[in-house]
């Protein structure tokens, strides 16, 4: 039970954090060009976005849950299980960020999720 709870914190924390950061970066807008000066201005704008700062503690929480999980369970179980975050993240992208997830993209996400689980399991 506690493992499932920690896994939920790990997956929801990382996907929630990444979704908040994505939302923040979309509001920030693209850098004018990929040059050092324009990138610094872009970073300055991102650092003033509250969604970006909402995402950071969520990702820290997720990292903490990962450390706790690794102290309970072997890494060959924890990392494959956390591959579920590809599916959870895609659901979040669709329903929270309003991205259009086509069938082709869903098929790719499911294959990646299974592939990462297999690679991490060794």
């Amino acid at each position: 039970m506690r493992v499932i709870l920690a896994l939920a914190v790990l997956i929801l924390g990382s996907t929630g954090g990444e979704i908040a950061i994505t939302h923040g970066m979309k509001a920030t807008g693209e850098p004018a060009r990929l040059r050092p000066r324009a990138l610094l201005q872009f970073l300055g704008r991102a650092a003033r976005n509250r969604w970006f700062w909402a995402g950071v503690p969520l990702m820290a929480l997720s990292f903490y849950a990962l450390l706790i999980l690794l102290s309970w369970e072997p890494i060959s179980l924890v990392i494959p299980a956390s591959a579920l975050s590809y599916v959870v993240g895609t659901l979040g992208a669709k329903y929270i960020l309003g991205e259009q997830v086509s069938r082709g993209r869903w098929a790719g996400v499911v294959l990646v999720c299974a592939g990462v689980a297999l690679v991490a399991a060794g």
Binding site: G29, L34, E99, G115
Partner: protein, 142 residues
Amino acid sequence: MASERRVRIKTLVMVLAMVVCANAGDLMLKRGMSQIGAVQLTASGLAEAFRLTVTNGTIWVGIFFLTGFMLSYMTVLSWADYSYVMPAGAFGYALLTLLAVVFLHESVSPRRWVGVVLICVGVLLVGQTKPRTTAVASEAAA
């Protein structure tokens, strides 16, 4: 709107930068921490480990690459879909396996090879889709 082809190329270049920086960063951290040796979980052990890590050049190279990862991740998400970038980034796992075979001559289990193939096919499928499906902030305002 910038041509879709241009957005696609720009996105793939940034995803590649993300993957290379993340792998290189992890590799350098691993190498640096092996130079330092196993950390003792006592107050003095942690203080000593902290002193050794901040004075270790390899660790700083790792931090440099991981900063590059964060920067390229933030940049690509300013225009591309999260549901495009996230699965595409999994290409790193496949790359890491190939590097381990070619350079470290590690043996890889059949199960892991199946995983690598699934990731590659999955990333190719996601790569076929439109990198961006939501409105662009700057264009929406204009």
